[in-house]
Amino acid sequence: MNAENKTPLIEVKGLVKRFGNLVVLNGIDETIHKGEKVSIIGPSGSGKSTFLRCLNCLEDADGGSIFFGGEDIADRKVDINKHRRHMGMVFQQFNLFHNKTVLENIMLAPVHLRIKDAGGLFASRATKAAIREEAKKEAMQLLRRIGLEDKANAYPSTLSGGQKQRIAIVRALAMNPQVLLFDEPTSALDPEMVGEVLDLIKELADEGMTMVIVTHEMGFAREVSDRILFMDGGVIAESAPPAELFGNPQNPRTKEFLSKVL
């Protein structure tokens, strides 16, 4: 990643999140740049998931701001749905829609949102059909890419964990997002399926997709990231390129954590 032409994509300033009396995020300042791959590591309960979920407002911030697409999306008055289209999210538990086929899972949001843009209920039948056709073509292309086009009409319940997660990733891709957020994308997988999912994420990284990845896979984080954030106690305790953070950690808490997990 070229240091000179960094353009900020997400700018987080003084982010605070509380659950009741528990302060989970205690003033986070962080900027994710276009094309950057950032991994977040840290002990359980340090607030990694919460931070990631705040980025697309699945959790509402209690303080601070998050600038994305020229607006402070931490402000509740902002139309968050408009911004979420540009931020794909991949969950630990896949969260494919149980009541939809694989193809429908991928097409649902593109079709619905494009029809809405074309006038919603007032859009002509031909327009709607064209949008559906287009979205279907794109979805099939994505399925071919991950070698699962024969599962297009299957329901998620019939798939393996690895297949589910790869479909969840292309579902996020179908919106052409500017950034992908991953929350422990391989933690719920059987060991033999971790590889296929990590390979897909790596492929996307190589294509230049901006990514924020919460992970316990240290080897993967080191390989794929431009930068690693170490979170502890609701703050980012250390932020550095993988070689530095793994090779020569500055913060004693980073050292302690790494000595336990490596």
Binding site: R84, N95, F97, N99, M175
Partner: protein, 273 residues
Amino acid sequence: MEQASKKQGFWKNHWMDVLAILAVIALVILLAVSVYTRFNFAKKWGIFYNYFVTNRGYKDLLTGMKNTALISVLGLLIGIVIGTVIAIIKVIPPYKKVTRYAQKVCNVYVAFFRGTPIVVQLLVGYYILLPLIGLSLPPVTSCMLIFGLNSGAYISEIMRGGINSVDAGQLEAARAVGLSFPVSMLKIVVPQAIKNILPTLGNEFIALIKETAIVGYVGAMDITKAFQDQGSNSYEYMIPYLVMALLYIVIVAVIAGLVKLMERRLAKNERRK
């Protein structure tokens, strides 16, 4: 060999049940015979037959069955729509003032319809409220509406349970791809919720069919009213009322059977997952 031992096992386990059933059958026959002779059954049957077949009895009953079906089916459908809307409103995160007011209104609605007898709702609705707002609907239509409003209150609670039974990740995933809260609910959460509560909705439908027996209060012809009329017009109540009870039992049994069947098929689907 195995068959035989199974059979033996059956007798061993169930001889008391069989005995009990036989005893009940014997009792019923005894009762029937004594009723037949004491109440001059043959004459009563003649009166019933005469009114039912050669007079207008069967026509009333056909109308009555049609109306009972219409009121309970449409009542259920209206109830599902209202119940879904209320359930969704109740699970909106209450950030906005509008939401909190809407939730209060829903609470009052549910409390009202669950807290008063349906007969009272029917009487007040038909004779007072509907005329007051200038809606002079025929009795059957009014009944559909009032039963729909009533079952909406009950179904909203069932639906809320169904929505809560759907994994929270489903809503999050829908929101994360940019769908709004209502769209996410309607396209992803509610369909899964409905699947979870289908058997309960079946039971609600059965309850509704039985409750519609009071629509005669506002002059709607239903199954109950048809037999009541037959009784009072022919001065012979026993057979019409017995047939009426039997008819309700048969209808309820058939629908309960269908609900069971549906439950079993859903369970099978679940296992395939």
